[in-house]
Amino acid sequence: MIAIINYGLGNLTSILNMFRRIGADAVITSDPAEIAAADKLLLPGVGHFKTGMETLRSSGLVDVLEKEVFEKKKPILGICLGAQLMTKHSEEGDVAGLGWVDARTRKFDASRLSELKIPHMAWSDVSFVDSNPLWTDLPADPRFYHVHSYHFDFEDSADVSATARYGYDFVTAFHRGNIYGTQFHPEKSHKFGMKVLENFAKL
């Protein structure tokens, strides 16, 4: 059972729809008991980092999640804002994140984008840079839907598992032990995203 964490933000239905299509058992929940009973976790999220962090903290679920992720080592996948929240800090609202990975969340550098507009809202080709199990058997020429104004900035490249280009190369996915994050939206990325979620469900 995959617990899609409901802390009030995110495309929860889309993620659930895709897990259903794959045939994976998933539930949208904010119940600590249900989260503890799940064998995998998914942290979604769209919107403002500060709002996201405040909402997650006030949901009272941070302790529950940290116990599941760090003590029980359950695989967790953060999507978009959900993945950004796993970093130490974001320039969006200048607030601290969960700090689960050695990265910060920074605004796209407009001076390096020339005529490209922020947010980066597009299907982008993704280059995979490690043996992240989520990339197993991806269909050819994988492209993923992105919508974001901020991106990950990693202190060292060990946890970086995919990059994409928008004006410049940025990190669009990471992987550290049982913690996974994607800036792109697998639940909105056709067969490419479906494969990623299927791989996550099979972990």
Binding site: T13, S14, M18, R21, G47, Y145
Partner: protein, 247 residues
């Protein structure tokens, strides 16, 4: 190279899909679920579903239908038509759409866009405007499916929409709708150079070349109805989608 989004726009009305010409003469296209399934198989970049008569007829949102549609689509999805309150928008987003399209309502409830953007982010709010040229060649913005003249010009209204919280703006030319004669490039150029948010060109695209011209005129993404729905101008329904557009 950056992939540019190509977006089919589907017009929903009382459970069926239709296509208009110049916002009139709505012809039945088919069943929405079936059509969305085909677009999903063709891996389209994004879909916009508009219940195009909802505001004009004062109808509510067909939540059962749009929930069913969202369940068949694994791409970004926007819905517009009859969204009057934050609660409406929330229910649309909870149904599996990540963007809501606001048009007529913003003339009476301009603060609705910000209210939605504050919770879901500006990228989840599309401000749409329908534009018609008058006899003297001046552009005007119309609401309620092109039936109400608002007195706004496209450039001023686009700036206002961005200020109100719209993360994207759809500029739809009423004169070009369903004509296969290409976008109103002058209109697209005016609006996209006036605002910092992405502009989606809509109305008139009849070929791949037209889509490219829309991008060259400054649009960040290009939308079309007829081009993806019909075989050719005046011919039968044939759902199609170009594999990719890189500009």
């Amino acid at each position: 190279m950056v992939r540019k989004r190509i977006i089919p726009v589907l017009l929903l009305n009382e459970g069926g899909l239709y296509k208009t010409v110049e916002f009139k003469k709505a012809s039945y296209v088919g069943d929405p679920i079936n059509t969305v399934k085909i677009f999903n198989e063709k891996e389209v970049d994004e879909l916009v579903i508009l219940d195009f008569q909802a505001s004009k007829q004062g109808r509510g949102i067909d939540f059962a239908k749009i929930t069913e549609i969202a369940g068949e689509a694994f791409m970004p999805m926007a819905y517009g038509g009859g969204i009057k309150t934050f609660e409406d928008a929330k229910k649309v987003i909870d149904a599996g759409f990540e963007k809501v399209v606001l048009n007529s309502i913003l003339f009476s409830e301009p603060l609705l866009a910000r209210k939605i953007a504050d919770v879901y982010g500006e990228q989840s709010v599309i401000g749409a405007m329908d534009v018609k040229k008058n006899l003297f060649g001046k552009y005007g913005v119309y609401s309620h499916s092109g039936t109400v003249k608002t007195g706004e010009t496209p450039v001023e209204w686009a700036k206002k929409l961005a200020e109100l919280g719209a993360g994207e703006i759809v500029v739809n030319s009423i004169d070009k709708d369903g004509t296969w004669s290409g976008y109103d490039e002058g209109l697209i150029r005016q609006v996209s150079s006036a605002v910092g948010v992405p502009v989606i060109a809509c109305g008139g695209a009849g070929s791949l070349e037209d889509l490219k011209k829309g991008i060259q005129a400054g649009a960040s993404a290009v939308a079309a109805g007829s081009l993806f729905i019909y075989q050719k101008k005046g011919m039968g329904v044939l759902i199609s989608f170009p594999s990719t557009l890189r500009v």
